[in-house]
Assembly symmetry: C3
Homo-oligomer: 215 residues x 3
């Protein structure tokens, strides 16, 4: 079994950081948790997708536990979000942007890692998508929301597209950092467009019009 | 490690299809999700039990990811249910029947697979049961219901019985397709009888008398 | 890979028993489930943390499935709690005490097992903590509560401390039953103090002042 590329590692750690910020801010806003709860939810959001991916790949123990950088980045992200709560909470788009960033980075990094472990074309795309949506789904279950991946059309789809770009580029022999960035960029754009156009769309009963915000 | 029998594979795929229909219809009825949410919930319901089983067996990556047929069957089931929503939604027993079918088929296929991987008698029965109830439990958690396996007496018990028939038949040397069908048949019958007799039983506060319907 | 010490096994089984009692009583009180639901929730609470730990260690199949004693202890605990419901339900602290006992015993047993599988210092502490809080988190998700580990400051922290004592004692070469008991004792004390001092603390909207009780 080979190891993932340096690009994948960098994108993976950046996605971990973005999701840690997102999860911690969600803990503050949605559930009014204290510092331990905030950092815990940040870490689960940040590490959940990668752990799911590694379990499904059979790559155990997961990278999170064999490579300390993931744990440190996730914990630091959670602590920073807690410290900056006042500043970031007022910027209401922050939660959405960090979620879209994590989604995009994990889609391409997850697909890359699946390829490195010899997964097939379809499986690698699916595993990239699971990496991208897994942490946020755990986050939503823990704070008792119906997960975004089920509620929002443009959450799983951009992740599928981003992972697809990386896997297809690899299959036609032009894989590398460029296409990973292209895939992540497309995923981020599609997700942010989706959030923008749905801002006033009717949500399910009991949720306000801005539900897309909570991504 | 040996591979599961052809019978187990066929029953496993049939159960996957039944649970995909059930999960997708649940997504339409319980949470009013759009197409991506419907297919996603169908796939999670269909694949969740088998993934749990394979993780607990240490048979990684799970069959879902090493054998494409599971993913295709689950996705097709979800899409069919979405396309036939109007027709199937009016047939209120459809959700219940598909759930009972999936439960029965997964109980015997899961037990058979556990035996193929050398699990002990008790473990194989338990793993069959976990395969049967796992996907529905994930489904219920994601749409924020207390899982059927906790609410309904006759959900885990018929699965235990169905898995038990397969395992005991194997242990006394008469294993094979016949006993798998017998086990699945008993499980299905007991589950449907349970649903029938509970139709007017008092449910927990907030749920109507037909709660057994939602499987 | 070595096997965990006898001390760890005994503490692990004792923790399994405590969590089975706690989960089963929670099923009775929080969700008014019947016998199958009560025993199932007891077993999930009792076995969930160890299964999570073993998946993250890559020690598959988990101890639960390779060692029958865990399953038997968990099932017996659930059945005893069901049988003694009337007696135990009136003792309102019982749920809290069993939860704190399970937390303490699993923190030290989980850390010990992680060390036995060669985990690093930080990883062993974290895996001890995950073992301790994992089962209760699954329990809370299944009965639709925001997990205690997110709500309560003094739930993850005492587990971290208990696991930390075991791991540090091992690293400085004085590991053994004594330090495991010291770690468990500190964890239990801190948790119970936390519960005591929070009894009248304001909880989140919708929960009463005694929310710490439900641990």
């Amino acid at each position: 079994m080979s190891t993932p590329s340096t690009t994948a590692l960098v994108l993976d750690l950046a996605g971990t950081f973005a999701f840690a910020l997102n999860g911690a801010l969600t803990a503050v806003r949605a559930a009014r948790l204290d510092i331990v709860g905030v950092v815990t939810l940040g870490m689960i959001t940040a590490l959940g997708g990668g752990i799911l991916r590694d379990v499904l790949l059979g790559a155990l123990p997961p990278a999170t536990f064999s490579d300390w950088r993931y744990l440190v980045v996730a914990a630091v992200g959670g602590l920073i979000a807690f410290a900056l709560t006042r500043q970031l909470e007022r910027l209401s788009p922050a939660i959405t942007v960090f979620d879209a960033l994590g989604l995009s980075l994990f889609a391409v990094a997850g697909a890359d890692r699946a390829l490195a472990f010899g997964a097939g074309t379809g499986q690698a795309i699916l595993l990239g998508t699971i990496t991208a949506v897994g942490g946020g789904t755990l986050r939503d279950v823990l704070v008792r929301r119906v997960p975004t991946v089920l509620r929002s059309e443009l959450y799983a789809v951009p992740a599928l597209v981003g992972a697809g770009v990386v896997v297809i580029a690899d299959r036609v022999g032009i894989g590398g950092p460029t296409w990973a960035l292209v895939g992540a960029g497309i995923c981020f754009l599609v997700r942010m467009l989706g959030v923008g156009f749905r801002l006033n769309a009717p949500g399910p009963p009991g949720s306000g019009p801005g539900r897309g915000d909570e991504g």
